[in-house]
Amino acid sequence: MDLIADNLPAYLSGFRVTLQLTVISGAVALVWGTVLAAMRVSPVATLRGLAVTYVELLRNTPLTLVFFFLVFVAPQFGVLPPLGFWTAVIALSAYTSAFVCEAVRSGVNGVPVGQAEAARAIGLTFGQTLTLVVLPQAVRSVIPPLINVLIALTKNTSVAAGFAVVELLASGRRIALANPSEAVLALVGVGLFYLVITIPAGYLAGVLERKVAFAR
């Protein structure tokens, strides 16, 4: 365990980058994914089509390919994403939002259809029906799958290690390379730091779920 203690500053700086990637990409993916879900249930066929295409494209593409596309292909079309951290944020949130969309959509479909009918019957518009009546009721059933998505995101941030972002895995790899006899321990250290994010996330999910509970 000395290895981990001795290299704590290196681990911590990597951990900080991983945490930043997770929080920023997670926030963007939650917002964008919810917008996509709203598009998928909207009465406008064009919006539904766009959202379906986006979701199918992104969720069926390996995350590494999404990174490759941004870093190597997009510049050839004249789009130059800022290198490093922000490119990783774009790739991670674009990819994760597809999964957020499907989690939110399943929650929306779980709200009894009579709720939306009653909302429309008093004259609420589609947007009002969604934001005032349907989504608040969908939140509860959406929390467990969303936490799954966010935990997957936390671990997916390690893909950024392959694209010049020195996050947790990249830091661990450097420590392992510098201490070849203890390489396994160095990587165990990496795993432990991921738990620092994912275990509280699971706990938070339970707390949130109880907090937004209401009897039906």
């Binding site: 009465p43 009894p112 009579g114 709720q115 009918e117 009653a118 909302a119 429309r120 019957a121 008093i122 004259g123 609420l124 518009t125 589609f126 009002q128 005032l132 009546v133 608040p136 009721q137 209401f214 009897a215 039906r216």
Partner: protein, 246 residues
């Protein structure tokens, strides 16, 4: 004075192979209470739901206060605000209190301030006899109370016409009357109502006109006295003989 408020002309609709509405023509005049009865699957609920376009129609026209039903969008939302609806399964917003159920439309559709909305809502809850439950969630109320809240929620929008889609069918027998009483007093106050129901007592007492549907078509229309004592069609006679024997 008795100008038509809701007019359906040659309305047609299929659910797959089922011809659920067949050349339906119906005119509801201002202040009139029209009760729609008929066997299950006769299309009476569907008919009721087409009037605020919760069900779309394939052909024919529906006008409310002279305005044809608009396509999906803001104009339709505005029209729906003027057409109150009460559902069989209440459909109160499960995550909001009783009071909030009634104020939501006042705040977000009629754009009232929170104080005024609350006053209006409380007056309506008082009127339907559930004011003491204002701060509870719908699930904490009995079915009869929930349905009375649903009526208050619809009345809050000051609708031109109220649609009732089997409002007592999901209620325990001892709660049916408390809901029918509210509806009867509404009818007496001159509200224009379209009521789909199996409550023949209510039809007899409160209706200006009874519409009998079978197989997606309107078979017979008459004032309640004539309909219940001397129905013209065989199908209406058959239907009445089955439900009025006990």
């Amino acid at each position: 004075m008795t100008q038509p408020l809701v007019v359906l002309e040659h309305v047609e609709k299929h659910f797959g192979a089922l011809h659920v509405l067949q050349d339906v023509n119906l005119t509801v005049r201002r202040g009139e209470v029209v009760v729609v009865i008929g066997p299950s699957g006769s299309g009476k609920s569907t008919l009721c739901r087409t009037i605020n376009r919760l069900e779309t129609i394939e052909s024919g026209t529906i006008t409310v206060d002279g305005v044809p039903l608009p396509a999906e969008g803001r104009a339709l939302a505005r029209l729906r605000a003027d057409v109150g609806m009460v559902f069989q399964s209440f459909n109160l917003f499960a995550h909001r209190t009783v009071l909030q159920n009634v104020t939501l439309g006042l705040r977000k559709v009629r754009h009232l301030g929170s104080r005024e909305a609350k006053e209006r809502a409380m007056a309506l809850l008082e009127r339907v006899g559930v004011a003491s439950q204002a701060d509870k969630l719908p699930a904490q109320l009995s079915g009869g109370q929930q349905q009375r809240v649903a009526i208050a929620r619809a009345l809050a929008m000051e609708p031109k016409v109220m649609l009732f889609d089997e409002p007592t069918s999901a209620l325990d027998p001892e709660m049916i009357n408390e809901v029918l009483d509210v509806m009867t007093s509404l009818a007496a106050e001159g509200m224009t109502m379209v009521v789909v129901t199996h409550e023949m007592g209510f039809a007899r007492r409160a209706a200006d006109r009874v519409v009998f549907m079978d197989g997606g078509a309107i078979v017979e229309e008459a004032d309640p006295e004539t309909f219940f004592t001397a129905p013209r069609s065989d199908r209406a006679r058959d239907f009445l003989s089955k439900i009025l024997t006990h």
